[in-house]
Symmetry: C2
Subunit: 120 residues, 2 copies
């Protein structure tokens, strides 16, 4: 299908799936258990779980007729790493821009007629 990072982002782009993930941080749940709060069929929830599973966000084991769903939280790191990498880059760039602006400001005061009083 697509790379895992894309699948993880896509999986969490749905509020229902995000809520499931949120609830799974507290405890493992069975499918019916998970489905209870939502106003959709059990099959729809089953599909959502498949999306989360394909993204590597959850795993399902077998326990009698039940299939407990377990969160694999490490996958979240994939996203955090990507996001933080570029957020940091953007910040650095803004910092650099601030430097340039400061420089420009300095250049703008060749005349000692005005000092410090640049408060708007």
């Amino acid at each position: 299908m697509a790379d895992q990072l894309s699948r993880v982002f896509a999986a969490l782009a749905d509020p229902t799936r995000r809520d499931m993930v949120a609830r799974l941080t507290e405890a493992d749940h069975t499918v019916g258990d998970l489905a209870a709060p939502y106003d959709v069929s059990l099959q729809a929830v089953s599909k959502h779980l498949k999306v989360l599973e394909d993204a590597g966000l959850v795993t399902r084991t077998r326990e009698a007729q039940r299939r407990p769903v377990h969160l694999e939280a490490e996958v979240l790191d994939l996203m955090t790493k990507w996001i933080e990498r570029y957020r940091r880059r953007a910040e650095e760039r803004f910092a650099a821009l601030d430097g340039v602006l400061a420089q420009m400001q300095d250049d703008e005061q060749p005349h000692p007629t005005q000092q410090e009083g640049t408060a708007s």
Copy 2:
């Protein structure tokens, strides 16, 4: 459409859009500029930009016929906050589970008849 968090996740679920965002951390770009590396029409890139804009990830100003695209990196914090919140919860739960396991291990050695050699 949907809530912003969903739109941001969805926007970044596409590799092309993620690459655009990555490039925009370095500098602002015009549409044609952004489109250059990709093997799709300019119109397709324009659509991708609309998705990013609707998610609040970029803004476009006007500069002659060009429309420079600027990254709004703060929006990334929305995601980071969500992710970190639940990752932390999951971690706390695992830590608690580790405690339980340690407890069980303690309880499991009431008989000194067998130690360590539990390798199958």
